[in-house]
């Protein structure tokens, strides 16, 4: 494949360098018979689809935080026009965030072998001489630094963050969000420049049979080894191999989004066993100990919920809260790290009933929720009026028929349909209705 006559100055270099196959700048250095336009095009088109889904689910996940509602929700206050699409995050369907973020993380993990294979398939281009054939080509190669560096940066920060390995330089939210935009700018340009050729390559392969030599544009031929080693696997076999890697990662990850499948997620951070047994046994994002919550500040004598609004401030003990009308809702915990629980059965006071206590009888407003937690990124969180108004939004006191345990937010926690986990504040100390900062 691709051993026909060559033309152009790249070919001239090829002729000069051909014999010196010790240098990666020589086409002869690259020996794998797998590299070629068909292999790269298939992987490229898979990534085109996959990364587009990652980008969109990532943007949607960002909107789920309602960053434009309040500075306490916004880890990227200088986003400027990059938040152009933000919208009021809905509460229907109640699994919306669980689905979006589960797809984002699970698909991201699944695509890692495809990304690695794609980068492997085009690595000879990194060493192509001359470094640039034209101004346009020079710009394209600079753009590839944004593309390759960006893809690796986004995948690496994401994979590290879900494993709580915070070694990256700064807070995850701005790095992953702004990094995504830098990467996506290069990704779109790359797609516009390459997709037509990739589609042509696949169409030609389908028409003429993958392994028959066919005339190809010079750019595609660059990838084909001029002196390939004898094959150890066919191109199709290699593609199955990449797909097998994806399947293995998918199979050992996807279970962390379902209580019934969790034990199948053998390597995912929230796969395997639940942290406990019984009604409160389900997955925990941050324990009470990690958040620095002590029993002394949450016991019945010490803890009071402060509810503030235009008609004044109300202080309620947990016993007094339990005497208010209690309601139930079945809602999941869904984390930005991509894991989630199945629906848990929460019981507590409706947020809109608490709003009514302090002067908002008919029209619940936004609310600022403050936790007992003294440090940590989301110890304060703002909820929008539509989230407060939803009858399923609770200040929960019980889960699955038992009082909350400290790790699930005892004495009381917020639970809102479709909201990201960190906005479901645990160890609630104060709720200020009509304010968001």
């Amino acid at each position: 494949m691709g051993r026909g006559p060559v033309s152009g100055c790249a070919a001239a270099y090829g002729r000069i360098m051909r014999d010196d196959s010790r240098l990666p700048t020589s086409p002869g250095f690259w020996r794998s018979p797998l590299r070629g336009p068909w292999f790269t095009s298939v992987l490229g088109l898979v990534l085109l689809l996959g990364i587009t889904v990652l980008f969109v689910t990532g943007l949607v996940s960002y909107a789920a935080y309602n960053p434009d509602l309040s500075p306490v929700n916004d880890k990227t206050p200088d986003k400027g026009i990059l938040g152009f699409y933000l919208f009021s995050w809905p509460t229907h369907p109640h699994w919306l965030y669980r689905l979006d973020q589960g797809v984002h993380v699970t698909l991201g993990v699944t695509l890692i072998p495809v990304l690695l294979a794609k980068l492997w398939s085009v690595v000879p281009r990194l060493f192509t001489l001359p470094p640039a054939r034209s101004v346009a080509h020079a710009l394209e190669r600079i753009s590839l630094l944004l593309l390759v560096g960006g893809a690796l940066f986004e995948f690496t920060t994401g994979v590290l963050n879900v494993q709580l390995d915070y070694v990256f330089p700064g807070s995850f939210y701005p790095l992953h969000f702004y990094g995504a935009w830098v990467f996506f700018a290069a990704f779109v340009a790359h797609a516009v420049l390459k997709v037509p050729a990739a589609v042509r390559n696949l169409r030609r392969a389908r028409e003429e049979g993958e392994l028959r030599p066919a005339p190809e544009p010079a750019s595609a031929r660059e990838l084909v080894a001029p002196h390939p080693d004898p094959p150890t696997v066919s191109r199709r076999g290699a593609l199955w191999f990449v797909g097998g890697g994806s399947l293995l990662l998918f199979a050992t990850t996807v279970g962390q989004s379902f209580d019934g499948l969790r034990r199948t997620a053998l390597l995912a951070p929230h796969g395997g066993a639940d942290p406990g047994s019984g009604p409160n046994g389900f997955q925990i994002n941050k324990t009470a100990a990690y958040a620095g919550i002590t029993a002394a500040e949450t016991d019945e004598g010490a803890w009071r919920l402060v509810v503030a609004g235009p008609s004044g401030t109300v202080r309620l003990s947990r016993a007094e809260l339990s005497e208010l009308p209690l309601h139930s809702s079945a809602l999941p915990i869904a984390c930005v790290e991509g894991w989630s629980t199945s629906d848990q059965w929460w019981r507590g006071v409706r947020l809109r009933d608490l709003a009514a206590l302090v002067g908002y009888e008919d029209d619940p407003p936004d609310v600022l929720v403050e936790s007992l937690q003294r440090r940590g990124a989301f110890r304060h969180a703002a909820l929008r009026a539509n989230q407060v108004a939803d009858p399923r939004s609770l200040l929960a006191l019980f889960v699955n028929g038992e009082p909350l345990t400290p790790d699930h937010g005892y004495p009381a926690r917020v639970i809102v349909p479709a909201a990201p986990g960190v906005l479901n504040t645990k160890w609630v100390a104060r709720m200020t209705f009509g304010e968001t900062r």
Binding site: S7, G8, C9, A11, I16, K79, G80, I81, L82, V109, I112, L116, L119, W120, V123, L126, R133, S134, V135, A136, H137, L139, L146, V148, L152, T156, Q163, D165, F168, P169, G170, P174, L175, Y178, W181, V182, A186, A189, V192, L193, D229, T232, V233, F241, G244, G245, L249, T252, L266, L267, A268, P269, A273, P275, G276, Q283, I284, N285, K286, T287
Partner: protein, 154 residues
């Protein structure tokens, strides 16, 4: 040598497209670099360099060593039986290294209320299944090949 026949500017469409892409990337990049300029730049460029100049050459050399080693014994066509389990096991280790290595164990235990001990054990067991399964497949294939081989003529 072929004289330079192409225009040195190249496609104007490509230049416009990339200029647009760079402008958007710079708009986001200014914000990306705002807090820790050298750190983020190092991670961005370092990720590309580390992959292209360290990780990829490392696994390519390892793969070539396996192929040549098998080739020397006349077993080249069995390469995939070694390559697949080794690569899949290495892939899992690469992706889940922080959990498998135990480097986040303290934070993980304290945050999630679960032990991180299981990850190394799971990875080792999956690795055992991958290599064992591959060995089994190879053995079956060899057996079938022996059965179907025509009897030697004396």
């Amino acid at each position: 040598m072929t004289p330079l026949r192409r225009p040195v500017i190249g496609s104007p469409f490509q230049i416009l497209l990339l200029a647009c892409s760079f402008a958007l990337a710079a708009y986001a990049g200014v914000r990306l670099l705002a807090d820790d300029r050298p750190g983020v730049a190092l991670w961005w460029v370092g990720a590309a360099l580390l992959h292209d100049l360290v990780l990829l050459p490392l696994y390519a050399v390892a793969d070539r060593a396996v192929v040549q080693g098998l080739d020397a014994g006349g077993h080249r066509r069995w390469t995939m039986y070694v390559r697949v389990p080794a690569a899949l096991s290495a892939l899992l280790l690469l992706v889940w290294f922080p959990l498998i290595s135990g480097r986040v164990e303290l934070r993980y235990r304290s945050a999630t209320g679960r032990s991180a001990d299981g990850f190394l054990a799971h990875w080792l067991l999956i690795t055992a299944v991958l290599f064992g399964g591959s060995a089994l497949l190879l053995a079956l294939r060899l057996r079938r090949a022996t059965k179907h081989r025509p009897p030697a003529v004396h």
